[in-house]
Symmetry: C2
Subunit: 344 residues, 2 copies
């Protein structure tokens, strides 16, 4: 007799099967709001050193599940490991955010998509370690940054409020920009396939900077590259479960949902609950509490959490924030959040 396989409620929900138990995870759940993270972080070297250290990165990944009743671990890493693995100079200076040596139309050809996967192998080892340390009913989420979002950092050299450098590059040098996107699509497919083969149950595409694109640019640089990643990934890993999170997609959300092939859609906190009517029926959603409501806590948080749970009860729903948890968030608010969302 083979033992009955243990179902993972969060993975089942991604696959479109709504569960009795509301699955919950929290974007950036392994992070600075946790004292145990801050303690470990102080012992590691640079932020990228930590991302490439399987022992420490797997420990950080598992920390929030020891403390909270969450349904998933998400790989501790960063969306900028792909440019780093492609050979771009990427640094994280303390208190400054990421700094990259900007790519140009001429330098894009020197990026090395073939060698990237080898450089990312410590992160794949982290995935294996996390899976080994995770209870069988918990889902392990892998991820990468989507090409447009990663490209905005690669071109501008750092984060920016309006992504103007990348947007202008795409308008004025479309062939070079398409070449960059192609490289990122290829690298992302290989990287996500390796994560799934190493034990990740589902992967999330973080399109964090999709908010300043008109519908032509959104279609060319968000929808199409995300669609190609989902398609390419499923050639390597048939049926690969994918969560798409195009933050700020707003009016472009329905087109993203209909075209990319993602199994489930992450919603940012600005998306009204009623807006889900515009999405394909039965499509699952993830989200979407404002992290500031969690930080502020109290009655206003409880009210909104209940609204979200009720608002999405007619479709597969993973409870989450609509953006990453803030470093100043009190632990007690997180405990309260989980209890209210589960109705206990």
């Amino acid at each position: 007799m083979t033992p009955t396989p243990v179902l993972k409620p969060l993975l089942e929900t991604v696959l479109g099967r709504r569960q009795q138990r509301l699955p919950i995870w929290i974007m950036r759940q392994a992070g600075r709001y946790l004292p145990e993270y801050r303690e470990l972080r102080a012992k590691a070297g640079s932020f990228l050193d930590l991302c490439y250290n399987p022992e420490l990165a797997s420990e950080v990944t598992l920390q929030p599940l020891r403390r909270f009743d969450l349904d998933a671990a998400i790989l501790f890493s960063d969306i900028l490991v792909i440019p780093d693995a492609l050979g771009q100079d990427v640094r994280f200076e303390v208190g400054e955010g990421p700094q990259l040596e900007p790519v140009t139309a001429d330098s894009i050809g020197r990026l090395d998509p073939k060698g990237a996967l080898e450089k990312l192998s410590p992160i794949i080892e982290t995935v294996q370690r996390v899976r080994a340390g995770l209870a069988p009913e918990k889902t392990l989420i892998g991820f990468c940054g989507s090409p447009w979002t990663v490209a905005t950092y690669m071109i501008n050299g750092r984060g920016s409020a309006d992504q103007a450098a990348a947007r202008l590059f795409a308008l004025t040098q479309p062939a070079a920009f398409a070449q960059l996107i192609d490289i990122l699509v290829e690298a992302s497919i290989g990287y996500l396939a390796a994560q799934l083969q190493a034990g990740a149950d589902v992967v999330q595409l973080f399109e964090s900077w999709a908010l300043n694109l008109d519908e032509i640019a959104f279609s060319d640089w968000v929808i199409e590259p995300n669609r190609r990643i989902v398609e390419g990934l499923r050639k390597l890993v048939p049926g690969a479960p994918v969560i798409g999170f195009p933050r700020g997609a707003a009016g472009n959300l329905p087109a993203y949902a209909e075209t990319t092939g993602v199994n489930l859609l992450g919603l940012d906190y600005a998306t009204p609950l009623e807006f889900a009517r515009e999405l394909p029926s039965g499509l699952g959603v993830q989200g979407n509490l404002d992290p500031l409501r969690l930080l502020a806590g109290g009655e206003q948080m409880d009210v909104r959490v209940r609204q979200i749970v009720t608002g999405f009860r007619d479709r597969p729903h993973i409870f989450n924030l609509g953006h990453g948890i803030l470093p100043e968030t009190p632990i007690a608010h997180v405990e309260r959040l989980i209890a209210v969302a589960r109705g206990t």
Copy 2:
């Protein structure tokens, strides 16, 4: 016999009567991309000095209409003249953006809504001067910043990418925040009424920072204050024509359009043309070319301009950008934009 009144195509469009001539204006059309503006700006003192100088501000307002075939002048001013007039310390340091002495829950009561209109009287004189210098078929647009947007600067003391300081203030000190919004609603009503009485044909409410609010906050701090301004303004100026521009409202646009009572809705460039289907039928729209497409110019600009004109041809439409024109924009691109939009 009284002479036939001269129709203003842009004003008629705001009032819901689609015109043979496609009306056009450009957000920030009086600004740094114009050499004649830069020349005059160098002669003025501080930026606020220029806003409060009727002779120079009226000249700046009229500059773009001497150069381009536009249908409207928009008052040259700034959304932060209201906090300045309320008694908050507001400075514009060159190259630094606005800097305000942040208000606190305790200092809000010291703002002076009664005295604000007197302090704004030079701007009302500017409106009179512009009207006197403007051809009768041209529309004069007055404006103010909407309360939420102005409050984000008043609380944070400067612009910010995520408006977190104001959002947290509103969550944790809702009574004080409501008091601040009340003051801004009152000051805005008096200020806009004075602009209309001095010769403005229509006013625009600039809600520039509406993008990071969930639907509860959007309803409380965007929709409701804008609705109160429209209602209060029409008590003082019956039938006052109002354009609402809630940039980044995204999924909250339909609720804004249905509730505030604005005559016509400004759309940011991220709003897909098809999204207008979600709006009340017959409601006019304004927009929505990405200013970077105008900066980059060429075929991609022409294509998108034609798409926008075609996409909105079944409702009243004012052609505009979806955000302010950028200082580096070539004059020739603006000339081309107007020609393509008018189909000549």
